[in-house]
């Protein structure tokens, strides 16, 4: 895949561009030359076996992990070396693989903080916008409760709500469905659909393949740090290379 920064700035629909993004920890290459372009208002799923480098890639996009090599371009800005808070203010929100709410704070305070410190567009967001997010994420009944008292599914929705409240145009969801009951998974799928319908771009890491089929417009498969497949969900999920990576020979 030939990628140039000019192409990204010309094509308005491409929000995020990864150029040869690499992360090395000493001799271990966690992410190896990943290049991809992610289109606006779409859902892109990143899948792959454990240890494939999915979360590390997310960390680099979000500014939490500095890449060893390559470039990350978001909405015409080279954000490769930006810190996590700068990346957030530029319009990328995220959730965490292991939930990280602000345990002693209420759901409502999570969203107030996210709106106060998130991207510039969001700082103008009014309380009606926050209550829309609360409704979208199904948190109405727990809005005044502290995170410590919430169920795992509630915490996952809270993290999505918090990311949305920053005013992010792009949301990175790291295994939002892991550990949920089938019923909760279905709710989570509907929630992500709602987020996309609201005009945000979603990139998700997911092991729950039915959810990937139901949600993704596009699937990128990572294995041992490198992209081994990229395309429509149906063709990617049925490809022999992908099956081999997941299930072995």
């Amino acid at each position: 895949m030939v990628s140039s920064p000019l192409a990204a700035s010309c094509a308005g629909s491409r929000v995020l561009q990864l150029d040869n993004v690499t992360k090395r920890y000493g001799g271990l290459v966690a992410v190896n030359g990943v290049s991809a372009r992610i289109a606006a208002a779409q859902t892109t799923a990143i899948i792959g076996p454990n240890g494939a480098g999915k979360t590390t890639l997310f960390g680099m996009i979000a500014g939490a992990i500095p890449p060893s090599d390559g470039r990350i371009i978001f909405a015409d800005h080279d954000i490769t070396r930006w810190s996590a808070d700068q990346v957030c203010r530029a319009g990328i929100g995220r959730t965490f693989q292991v939930v990280r709410p602000f345990w002693a704070m209420t759901v409502h305070d999570h969203l107030r903080a996210a709106a106060a410190f998130g991207s510039k567009a969001a700082s103008r967001s009014e309380s009606t916008v926050l209550s829309d997010i609360v409704t979208l994420c199904g948190l109405q009944d727990v809005a005044d409760r502290v995170a410590l008292t919430l169920t795992l599914a509630d915490c996952r929705r809270l993290e999505i709500a918090r990311a949305l409240a920053t005013g992010a145009r792009m949301i990175l969801l790291d295994e939002t469905m892991a550990g949920l009951t089938p019923e909760e998974t279905e709710q989570a799928i509907q929630l992500v659909k709602g987020v996309v319908a609201a005009g945000r771009t979603v990139v998700l890491i997911e092991h729950v393949l039915p959810a990937v089929r139901g949600l993704a417009d596009r699937v990128i498969v990572l294995d041992r740090g490198a992209v081994i497949a990229d395309g429509e969900p149906i063709e990617v999920l049925s490809s022999a290379t992908v099956k081999k990576a997941y299930l072995g020979e």
Binding site: A84, F102, A113
Partner: protein, 309 residues
Amino acid sequence: MTRLIPILLLIALAALPFAGPAIPGGVYITRLAVIGLLYIASATAWDLVGGLTGQVSFGHSAFFGIGAYMTAWLVGTGWPMPLTLLPGALLAAAYGALWGWPCLRLRGPFFAIATIGVGEATRLIALLAEGVTGGATGLTLPIGGWEHTAYYLALGLVVVAFALSWLVRRSSLGLGLSCIREDVEAATSIGIKVGWLQVQALMVSAAVVAAAGGIYARYLYYVEPGDVFSFNRGIALILMATIGGLNSKWGPAIGAVIFLGLEQGLAAWFPQGHLGIYGLLLIGVMLYEPNGVVAFGRKLRGVASAAAR
């Protein structure tokens, strides 16, 4: 009703210097109250960093000492004493920013250890810089006539400390500091400038503690590095806030009063023993009520109202 209590308390405290001579032991109580008020203001300000932000600082003695010395110097050059508190507060805030910027990247015990270093290094520098600080001999201020003013300045500082604490807590700064306390990485993920917000909290906190140091210097007529920069001052603030209740409106103030009571009650009989009592009290609080006396009081009230029903 409960809303009236702080106002009534304030009126009573404002009247104390006048009523002092009329009640038995009143003069002694008034003198003690100055120290108590300075403790209350300092502990409340410390809690912005130690409680709200969750960064336990042993280094606040540095701010106290800077404020004390600033007042001593400026009074020596003829400044009106109340005006000396402002430059002291500003210098302490700047000093806080100077070491806070690198140190506040650390969390938990690592930050705490760094602040021990800062506090002790500041004390030693002050002790060695004899030309500026008078070294171990210290500096003497012109004596006489400042007891009443010091008292009212201390009372005013308590009001300022509470007002600042209230303002910070209800602002987005306070909200951001709470996020930092709960989870730094999650806080950065929502766009919070973790370093800058913490530095702001430390600067506000430093300014109040420095003003307390300035009033203390004027009240005592004497400053000396071994006293105003002492490690024990830093620890005392931690004890007050923790015993009273971290990150609460009244906790640090209540803790300061308990601390003063113990200090006065026990130090006379057990010159060293009272430190042991603090230790036991701290262990008790951490084991049985990590949220301090305030939380314990709230529980008692809950039990009482349940019994009344």
